[in-house]
Symmetry: C2
């Protein structure tokens, strides 16, 4: 078992109002590098500040770190195009920071880094991987990628109020810039992620593809970005069991998540860490801030499996299998 | 407590007969990257083969990994100028592979990477660091660095027969190429390591300096290369307690080691893992192959402290303090 965080950047995050993954636009760029340090060390090494949303909601990486510490999880950070250096050790797969999807060819490193990540996913010595992401602006590039693939599912937001109209407008501009129609890159996932995605999606899809090649169990820890990575894997024609492990906060925000997972033959596991009952900053999650990210949903599923969730709050893990049957309380 | 391996390359290793840190000259280049994967994962991910000497002696990284696994040690790999990519996650401090010390300015990244490593050493959250190195050809660049500093101590070798005449000739050519005399860079360690050293020495010295700035305990796990790093730190004017933890095989090869450590105010700890009593490839260590490297002496000291050394063989840890007093059996 190894927990993996894939971290990178897209200039799409610089569009005003797109991302809450930082206290302001300057700090946003540091969030992935800081998240890696937090999960690796439990404290910052090079990053200037603990990542918080504009209203002070702490990064989900803090939750992932807490679970990692309690369960003594092996951890691997993958550099999928970081824009600032990190003090955490990372594996490079040749990815570079992505450009704004309203430009042409925003993710030119996608094909090479997909292949390098696929080899890494094959070769890692573990039987099971839990993969998460940290990239501000990632739900917008996920939306763009889904549309290029012809998938109609919605995406979530780190804001309490999802700026969907803005995201749809950015995606429409991106499709125009790339000169493609909705669905034009169905079954051509490397073209889809290169034209409308971000470097993290390409690397997550490669890692997952490689892990499935090697019959590893894979848990995607996250929300609609990780679901988009699953879509890329499925559009590449790769079968094999996948579980999307997310938080109740994310699942509540995206009612279509179970149906979307089902359509991609992905099992859905939803965990409620009960943060609404806390009197600290984590309570903001229950009010719709943050919701998910940095592998949080995957970490919570592992914590629940290990019987550790009573330490953070009452939990109700709900598992929905690919046929839509719900288990658990 | 964190185990750190600083890994890099110098083209000095390409000189025929200089290094036994690889089965042949092609595989030599892969040794540091492979060592990191071995200590990180317990198996190779990108590297082509397990590093062995020309006669099949396994890399000391295998011993370090065994100890890491048994003691569940946190591990950090630092890229100090790797020449081939590694599948292990690494922190970059801006170091690039070193050129042959018979060229002018073989380590131009030394000043910047020393500073970046020093910051890292300050900021790491641990109370104690065990630092090791993996760089083929590193004893020759250590000898060159010692001479530039005006230190007269000998260096060891991964060969059973130390090619000292060859090393001295390479160092003499290097001093000529840089236009400097023996001792010319005493108390100017950054000039010494830049002119006659390798990128790993610069980064180890920086890490150790930073750790001492922050009052961390530091164990240097290795032989004469790590002693050279200590010399760089002392010539920078940095005091603070340092322990050199090495193997009995290395200590037997360098009779002057206790005196040299003493002169640099470094405590010496020598551990004998009893490999001479084994009937596998590790017995070659007792015949003078390999001897030390990849933090092996430091890992063995930790194993001994934890009472775990009976698992690998009878041990006699001998501690020599800076005043030359010997403790233990």
């Amino acid at each position: 078992m190894r927990l993996i965080l894939v971290a990178g950047a897209t200039d799409t995050a610089k569009i005003d109002g797109i991302s809450a993954a930082g206290a302001d636009s300057d700090l946003l760029a540091h969030t992935p590098s800081a998240d890696l340090e937090l999960v690796e060390y439990g404290s910052l090494v090079r990053a200037p500040e603990l990542p918080v949303s504009p209203t002070g909601c702490p990064t989900p990486a803090a939750v992932t770190r807490a679970v990692r510490e309690r369960l003594d999880l092996d951890f691997l950070a993958v550099d999928a195009g970081l824009s600032v250096p990190t003090g955490a050790p990372t594996v490079s797969v040749g990815a570079k920071r992505g450009r704004d999807i309203r430009e042409t060819d925003p993710v030119p490193t996608a094909p090479g880094s997909f292949l390098a990540a696929r080899q890494l996913g094959q070769k890692l010595p573990d039987d099971e991987l839990v993969v998460g992401e940290t990239i501000p602006g990632g739900t917008t590039t996920a939306l763009g990628t889904l549309r290029a693939l012809g998938e109609e599912w919605a995406v979530s937001s780190s804001f309490p109020e999802n700026p969907m109209a803005l995201k749809q407008s950015v995606v429409a501009d991106g499709l125009d810039a790339s000169g493609i129609d909705v669905g034009e890159f169905a079954y051509e996932p490397l073209l889809a992620v290169r034209a409308m995605g971000d470097p993290v999606l390409a690397v997550v899809a490669g890692l997952v593809a490689g892990a499935l090649d090697d019959d590893k169990d894979v848990i995607l820890g996250g929300g609609t970005q990780m679901l988009t990575a699953a879509a890329l894997v499925r559009h590449e024609g790769i079968a094999g069991p996948l579980t999307l492990a997310t938080t109740s906060y994310l699942a509540d925000d995206v009612p279509v998540l179970a149906e979307a997972s089902n359509s991609l033959d992905v099992e859905l596991a939803v965990t409620d860490p009960g943060f609404g009952q806390r009197d600290d900053a984590l309570a903001q999650y229950a009010a719709g801030e943050g919701k998910e990210g940095a592998g949080m949903g995957g970490a919570l599923l592992l914590a629940d499996r290990a019987g550790e969730l009573e330490h953070v709050g009452e939990t109700t893990t709900k598992v929905v299998d690919a046929a839509g049957v719900t288990y658990g309380p």
